[in-house]
Amino acid sequence: MKNDLLWVEKYRPKKISEVLGNELAKTTFINWLNNKRRRKKAVLLYGPAGVGKTALVNAASNQFNFTIIEMNASDTRTEKAINKVGKPATSFVALDKFSTETKGNILFLDEVDGVFGQQDRGGIGAIIKIVKESLIPVVMAANNPDIKKLRPLKKVCQMIRFQQVRIPLIITMLRRICVMENVEAEFEALERIAQNSRGDMRSAINDLQSISEGRPVLRVQDTMFLSYRNKDIGMYETIMGVFSAESVGDAAMILNRSNVNYDDFLLSISDNLPLRYPDSADLAHAYDLVSRADVFRGRVGTENWHLLRYFFNLLAEAATVSPRSFKPFEVISPPIRIMKLFWTKSKRTKLENICAKIALKCHVSRTTAKTDIVPFVKIILEKQKSSPIISWLKLEPNDVDYLIKINKF
């Protein structure tokens, strides 16, 4: 039975010293955990996946005899569900705290950056409330703490940053596992697995297990089919990758590995095509393919995900119309349309407010006010700036100035 275990579970650190790398994050966390007069009641461990955040919490609780009450991404984390688990755990002191064997409870919320959407409605608000009222340490872990939803949470937490685990440390760990599992591994093979993992210890151990399955000797040739881990491929890297790809297959592979937003990516490809193809015939062909990709994006919608491969293939084809003509260029990022929406947000909000005033007075919808009434109000105001219509529509002086100056609705 023990042999069926995943190695990441089998060799999960039991002591803090077994968690490799991030020694300062470890020290900060342990100091916080053992300090009875904590300045902040909660701590947010953040950093890339597989660097030891959850492992550290488990190892520390094991070493200092804390009992973990955990909620992770597999649980529904609505306000109700969090309160159901978190409130009793944090509001009452457990009886076993008085025993010498345990120090009490820790509430551990793993992957808090995944608390979002309809399923987890009200989750973040509930967590903040629990943190403020908690009598026990609250530990949270997240990959990306910069998302907008976590901003209020960051204010009530001590932030502890985790970095990627270094390659020599990963090799050391892999080597130890090989000794324990009686696998004779070439140093170069372990080196390649470690480099592939890009600082993710968990994925390195998983790769080692999958490759060495049924092999007493692990050679570097056995690691050749390992593909690079998909880590943090941003918009810039994805665009440069697909444009510099030598074949449609290469470009499609990069697209499959990337985790950029599909709509933003479509816009970015479209904006950057003129920089990529100086030849007008190539450019026209590429735009034709992008327009067809756009059609498939529309068909994918939110449910027909099986059509996504056509979208990717067409974009890959658009990026590799003439692979040999590639010359490095400065990528436009983010897409111009998104930038324009950002720049014109205040103007659009102002127009929406004016339309709302007109709609209220004329008993029409805001859209009707925008398309059918605003153009005429503009003409009236251009001819007579002090028209009685201003007071009737309850327009402000800056609304009047805006309407006179506006060119497009």
Binding site: S17, E18, L20, G21, N22, E23, L24, A25, T28, M159, I160, R161, Q163, Q164, R166, I167, P168, L169, I171, T172, R175, R176, V179, F187, Q195, R198, G199
Partner: protein
């Protein structure tokens, strides 16, 4: 290029504002010895930039080997180009210890 040891290093006298900035970015000052050490690494990149601007030179931190506790620079490591934390003062394994696989297991586990 200035090579510093994260446990204790000395900087020239700085203005009050710069000193406060250094403290906020994660340095600790030992009054008795007049030396600085790194207390937290959350803003390590900004901290290194600030120290570089004070010293008017590129700053490198020595790495400490987990196995033999020896200090060594990143330039000795062949993985430096793949390392996301190159030149930052974190735990590592020196090239010699990495070659001698046998001793490592005894040291950590």
């Amino acid at each position: 290029m200035v090579v510093l040891n994260k446990k204790a290093f000395i900087l020239p006298r700085v203005e009050k504002e710069k000193f406060i900035r250094l403290m906020r970015l994660g340095l600790e000052y030992n009054r008795d010895k007049g030396s600085y050490s790194i207390s937290h690494f959350d803003n390590i990149e900004k901290l290194i930039d600030t120290i570089s601007s004070i010293l008017n030179d590129e700053v490198l931190f020595l790495q400490n080997c987990l196995m033999c506790s020896k200090d060594f620079p990143c330039s000795d490591c062949k993985y430096a180009d793949f390392c996301a934390t190159k030149n930052l003062p974190f735990q590592c394994v020196c090239p010699q210890c990495l070659k001698e696989g046998k001793t490592h297991q005894q040291k950590i586990f």
